[in-house]
């Protein structure tokens, strides 16, 4: 793998760590693999791209967060007030956001930004280095947002959000409004996904209507890589693990590409990583049972 490919992978990893944190919030904290994030990711990208074209890249990034919050709240509304099953609520909002994103992008499926002034090109002019800018901005964004998230989870409201995913019944018995905490959790999780989309659009120089597709699996793979390597401990530890997991995932991705693996196959590989990691305890258990049976049979013959 060339150095350029490696540093590009780290940059992408830092950016996609935001998405992985979004999935971490909705999947690990709230306990729902929320598909809305695919829609929020694309929504963030489209908002960011349109405002970049309009000459306001920073505003674009800020408003992409708002887009994510709105999408998350739609899902929360379906889930809580209208009692749609969590998975289905996410799928519905993801579907609807496709139309919304197309509308935001003025009916075009692709917005090129290659000749526009993005936050990255602006910083590159200031630093006199494209690579420095491409490291600097993702690092700053991920540090600020991870710190904010870590602090939030130790506020009273943050504790209540965590408890909602941990034991909902206990929450209601402890006078926690779980409808409200789900709104908060889903809004924050999708805000992270949308911010990620917004950054990706400016980083790669375009927004595409389909760019959210498969992002849940990509983020889950990052999450699981991080957890497998570092284990699950306190919230702060887990947040760090997710970020490093996202970077490692991108390095693996770049490494695979250096072998000229067809990028089309990478989604299948991502899906395999997730399936293997999640099923690991069950497979291990099957193996243990098989061994016990084998031993019992053998001992029986000796008896």
């Amino acid at each position: 793998m060339t150095f350029v490919a490696f540093s590009g992978a780290v940059q992408l990893g830092l950016i996609f760590a935001l998405l992985a944190l979004g999935i971490f919030i909705v999947y690990r904290i709230l306990g729902v693999p929320d598909l809305t994030v695919e829609g929020s990711f694309a929504a963030g990208a489209s908002v960011s791209a349109m405002l970049t074209v309009a000459g306001r890249p920073f505003l674009g990034l800020a408003l992409s967060i708002v887009a994510g919050v709105v999408a998350g709240m739609c899902t929360a509304f379906l889930q809580t007030k209208l009692r749609v099953q969590p998975i289905l609520a996410g799928i519905l909002v993801m579907m609807a956001s496709f139309s919304a994103n197309l509308y935001i992008m003025g009916g075009r499926p692709n917005i090129p930004l290659l000749r526009e002034e993005t936050l990255f090109t602006g910083l590159a002019d200031r630093f006199n280095s494209v690579q420095a800018a491409r490291f600097f901005l993702p690092v700053v964004v991920i540090i600020l947002s991870a710190a904010a998230l870590g602090l939030f989870f130790h506020t009273r409201l943050g504790l209540a959000v965590r408890a909602t995913g941990d034991n909902e019944e206990m929450c209601r018995a402890s006078s926690i409004n779980t409808t409200f905490t789900k709104f908060v959790g889903l809004a924050i999780g999708n805000a992270f996904a949308a911010l990620c989309g917004g950054l990706v659009a400016q980083y790669q120089g375009f927004a595409d209507i389909n760019m959210g597709f498969g992002m849940v699996v990509v983020a889950l793979a990052s999450l699981i890589i991080g957890e497998t390597i570092f284990g699950r401990r306190g919230v702060i530890w887990n947040i760090g693990a997710v970020i490093v997991g996202a970077i490692i995932y991108r390095i693996i991705w770049a490494w695979a590409l250096s072998f000229r693996i067809d990028p089309a196959n990478l989604r299948a590989i991502s899906a395999l990583i997730v399936a293997a990691a999640i099923s690991y305890p069950a497979v291990k258990n099957m193996w243990t049972v098989a061994r016990l049976k084998r031993n019992a049979r053998r001992d029986g013959r000796h008896a």
């Binding site: 602090l151 130790h154 506020t155 009273r156 409201l157 504790l159 209540a160 965590r162 408890a163 941990d166 034991n167 019944e169 206990m170 929450c171 209601r172 018995a173 402890s174 006078s175 926690i176 409004n177 779980t178």
Partner: protein
């Protein structure tokens, strides 16, 4: 303190599974009353508890807690004034959060904003002091994940959570039934101590006739969604476990 007026609740109305769970139940609990409720499975004990705590709305009737009509108040709002313990010790606490964090969730101080970061030193010291009173050595394990504690320890912490801000009403739904005898005894003793100390109005569902008569000052027997027996004072003094058990058989 608590007043129920003609509470009715029918499950699956209009289907072949229709079942009247609460049939025109009226009940009044003066402040400081400690009522034990007995009754067979399906008699409506838990349904009554759920109606009071707001898990579902009753089909008709009114519920008044401390002079406030809470008939249509949502479950989490009622929980500000109602402490609850379930039979399953896993239900009362968040397993992936620490003991201190669990207590912080239950400890609602009006002065503390929702955005305050961390748990204050004073609050932590208070938690430690309260945990010490359980005499389980948990005061030194405040950063332990709740899921690592035994059922009895978890139930004791749940009890603390339910009473750390003295509730107007405490509801115990067979909260020692899933514990081993010695842990159950310990939790029951702690329950009594706290109820006595804070003079909490309490409803306790139990399958243990002996403790139903030994604890509290009033005993209610439910049958087919109705209150079949409501005894206190001398009448309850004269009641024996054998007599109550035989009445049980009669109504069943």
């Amino acid at each position: 303190m608590l007043k129920l007026e003609n509470i009715c609740k029918t499950f699956h109305p209009g289907t072949s599974n229709q079942r009247i769970a609460l049939d025109n139940v009226s009940l009044e609990l003066p402040k400081g009353d400690f009522v034990t409720i007995v009754g067979g499975n399906g008699a409506g004990k838990t349904t009554l508890m759920n109606a009071i705590s707001g898990v579902f709305l009753a089909d008709s009737g009114r519920i008044i807690l401390d002079k406030r009509d809470i008939t249509f108040t949502s479950e989490h709002r009622r929980a500000r004034h109602i402490g609850r313990l379930f039979q399953d010790p896993m239900k009362g606490t968040a397993p992936n959060m620490t003991i201190a964090e669990n207590l912080a969730l239950a400890y609602k101080h009006a002065s503390e904003s929702g955005f305050r970061i961390g748990i204050g030193k004073k609050t932590l010291a208070y938690f430690q002091e309260q945990l010490a009173q359980l005499e389980l050595g948990l005061e030194d394990r405040m950063k332990t994940r709740m899921g690592l504690l035994s059922g009895g320890q978890r139930q004791a912490v749940t009890l603390l959570m339910a009473t750390i801000c003295t509730p107007k009403l405490l509801m115990l739904d067979e909260h020692t039934a899933a514990l081993d005898p010695s842990a159950g005894e310990k939790v029951l003793r702690l329950t009594q101590e706290i109820i006595r100390r804070d003079k909490i109005t309490t409803i306790m569902v139990t399958h243990n006739i002996t403790s139903a008569l030994a604890l509290g000052n009033r005993t209610i027997m439910m049958e087919n969604g109705k209150i079949a027996l409501d005894i206190s004072g001398d009448e309850r003094q004269d009641m024996t476990v054998e007599k109550l058990t035989s009445m049980f058989r009669l109504v069943i």
